[in-house]
């Protein structure tokens, strides 16, 4: 994840290729047929192995368990109706990793949820693109009108999807620190090169002590992120199940990205507003694009507040405030 992200390999970030969490989840709780069918596709890196993930709905963001999209079971299939939103890459995906409500008569809203594999070629799916404020089309709205999903596409146990989803979310969050570390490391290197190659006030920018210290601070944050990424990887490799670490890492990733993006724009100065695709863009527009995207991207996979609530409750044992 670290290296793939450093080299900006398409499809590795946001988990759209299925590498981030679909593959790992299927290995853990998918059926034999599902493993045989989907894992080789994910491994192949072909378009038929591309996934999107549909959890969020208009009224179920941070409060994920609030989902209303219904999957009603008949003999051999589920009939899917409802709406998802913010589904990244749905317009490119062959499959969708979907959370739907299979039982409404439940004591807790976490119950009665199931995890389904949806074939994006099924009739009855409407994909409506949403352009983000940077002008990039990443996410979409999805509408389901009596979409048929074979019962064989149920992952794990019916109505117990919440627990599978928590595991899947854990895979997603575990992979974030290595992934963000790789990407941020590359951008930091670009900035170091940029200040060495550009002059200001008659000397290389790299000799300016304010710039030196800002980039040194960013390097220190990157190193801290690296330690967090290695720690969680080390724990998993030893069979220790991380509890709060991924949430801590996610919040820290967003802090690292924010500071790096801001420092980057300060180094590029007024050029940081030049459109990323313009011939006058500096550093191929990566800083501009990063700056335009970091606040919005920090919302994906759970906001800062939600991550801190998790750490506060599960690591520090503080009383739940809500």
């Amino acid at each position: 994840m670290d290296e793939a992200s450093y080299w900006d390999i398409p499809g590795m970030t946001m988990g759209v290729s299925g590498v981030g969490w679909v593959g790992q989840s299927l290995m853990l709780f998918g059926s034999e047929e599902q493993k045989k069918k989907y894992i080789p596709l994910i491994a192949s890196g072909e378009p038929d192995g591309v996934w999107c993930t549909a959890y969020s709905e208009p009224n179920a963001g941070s409060d994920f368990a609030n989902i209303q999209t219904r999957a009603v079971r008949t003999d051999s299939e589920y009939i899917l109706n409802g709406q998802k939103i913010w589904t990244s890459c749905a317009h490119r995906a062959r499959w969708c990793w979907l959370a739907a409500r299979t039982d409404t008569n439940v004591a807790k809203k976490q119950h009665g949820i199931s995890l389904l594999i949806l074939d994006m070629k099924s009739p009855g799916i409407t994909i409506k693109p949403i352009e983000n404020f940077a002008g990039v089309h990443i996410f979409n709205e999805l509408f389901f009108d009596n979409v048929k999903v074979p019962v064989a596409n149920l992952v794990g146990i019916e109505n117990r999807g919440w627990y599978h989803l928590m595991q899947s979310l854990a895979f997603e969050r575990h992979s974030m620190a290595p992934q963000f570390y790789g990407g941020a490391r590359r951008i930091h290197e670009y900035l170091v090169k940029y200040v060495r190659d550009n002059r200001y006030k008659g000397k290389p920018m790299s000799e300016d002590s304010i710039i030196r210290h800002k980039l040194a601070e960013r390097a220190l944050e990157l190193e801290t992120l690296k330690m967090f990424a290695y720690e969680i990887t080390w724990k998993i490799s030893k069979g220790i199940i991380p509890v709060y670490e991924a949430a801590r890492n996610k919040a820290y990733c967003d802090l690292v990205m924010e500071r790096l993006a801001i420092t980057g724009t300060e180094i590029l100065g007024i050029y940081s507003q030049v459109d990323a695709l313009s011939k006058w863009a500096r550093l191929m527009g990566i800083i501009t694009r990063m700056y335009m995207m970091f606040p919005g991207n920090s919302i994906a996979a759970g906001t800062d507040e939600i991550q801190k609530n998790i750490v506060g409750q599960f690591k520090l044992g503080l009383p739940r405030p809500y």
């Binding site: 170091v192 390097a219 190193e223 919040a251 609530n309 506060g312």
Partner: protein, 374 residues
């Protein structure tokens, strides 16, 4: 790098924690802040029994030959409980360079006395400016054919007032040039030592040298190579200081976390208010990040690898985190901790000592900048 301690280190850690809570009560530390010596000789001797002064010294000189990482574990515990005394200056700042740069005769003369707790050492490097920089060294050692004559001042030399020996960094050329490290008897004629009163009473001293004689046998390492000695000892001593800070930060976090669960206002534990909760989470993330950077630096040193950038990162992080964590801890406690009776003040009073030991944040950032190719 391993993210866990060895079984032996876990034992050392448990033993140290146990010792400190038994022998170094909070009441005792409070007395020591005001004590003219600034440390407890009885506790110092008990530490000798446990072999701590000699922990990383070679067995041949009465030490235990343990790994640098073991010392890091020990320092972390000392920081957690706060154990005032000349351990850091004696071991971290003086014994470590002696082990590496000392001639056999110097090692045989001095190391056994350190291991047995009989000798206390103090590093004399900073001068009136208080800045950790080679260009600031003006205390001179002039050669007169028979030997050297030292004249000048040293500031913020820790525990010099109780030290038997000093490691003095002098210039043997013009200011900032020809830096040479001398091993000097602290009781020598011409040496005057006085206490600098500080907020934490951590034994800071000013030393004045007036025509103090030294011979070439007293030089540690080579003449003119004294800053190499300083750089070498600084890397290791800094990791130890950072480990101490790390222990202190964990203690502050733990006491604040416990207080937040306990203290009720508006009929709820204050730890249930999200703003308090998120502050505590930020503290945790800061402290864990610090801990890993410190252990990475320690591990690199212990493995004999290049560590200067990792050390600079650990110190810059320690400076930031210690201050941040203490400020937030004060805020979360409300007024109760803003009293002499409360433990938090100890940790707060020590922030600036740690921050300016062997290089401040700007110094470290400059070093990191060099390390990333700037």
């Amino acid at each position: 790098m391993d993210f866990d301690l060895s079984e032996q280190q876990k034992m050392l850690k448990a033993m140290a924690g146990d010792f400190m809570s038994r022998e170094c009560s909070k009441a005792r530390v409070r007395q020591l802040e005001k004590d003219s010596k600034g440390y407890d000789p009885v506790v110092w001797d008990k530490m000798v029994e446990l072999g701590w002064q000699g922990l990383i010294l070679p067995e041949k000189y009465g030490g235990m030959g343990a790994d640098f990482l073991d010392l890091v574990v020990l320092m972390e515990e000392m920081g957690r409980n706060i154990l005032p005394g000349p351990f850091f200056s004696t071991i971290g700042e003086c014994a470590i360079p002696l082990m590496t740069f000392g001639r056999d005769s110097q090692k045989a003369d001095y190391l056994p006395l350190i291991a047995s707790g009989k000798n206390i050492w103090s590093l004399a490097v900073l001068e009136h400016s208080g800045r950790f920089d080679v260009g600031e060294i003006a205390c001179c050692a002039n050669s007169d054919g028979k030997g050297y004559i030292i004249n000048g001042e040293k500031w913020f030399s820790q525990y010099a007032h109780v030290a038997d020996r000093l490691l003095v960094i002098c210039c043997t050329g013009r200011q900032g040039e020809g830096i040479t490290a001398f091993l000097i008897d602290a009781k020598k004629k011409g040496i005057k030592i006085e206490n600098i009163p500080t907020v934490a009473g951590e034994g800071q001293c000013r030393i004045r040298f007036k025509n103090v004689r030294a011979s070439s046998n007293d030089i540690l390492g080579k003449r003119g190579q004294g800053w190499k000695v300083v750089d070498y000892l600084a890397q290791r001593a800094l990791v130890l200081k950072c480990a101490e800070v790390c222990g202190a930060c964990q203690a502050v976090l733990n006491m604040t976390q416990a207080y937040a669960k306990d203290r009720v206002q508006f009929d709820k534990p204050i730890g249930s208010f999200m703003s308090i909760q998120h502050k505590l989470v930020d503290m945790l993330t800061a402290v864990e990040g610090l801990q890993y950077l410190v252990y990475q630096a320690a591990w690199l040193i212990s493995a004999g690898q290049k560590a200067d950038i990792a050390v600079a990162m650990a110190k810059a992080k320690a400076n930031e985190v210690y201050q941040r964590v203490c400020i937030d801890a004060v805020r979360i406690h409300g007024a109760i901790d803003f009293t002499m009776d409360h433990d938090l003040g100890w940790y707060f009073r020590r922030i600036k000592d740690a921050e300016f030991t062997l290089g401040d944040t700007d110094f470290m950032l400059e070093r990191i900048a060099g390390g990333i190719g700037l």
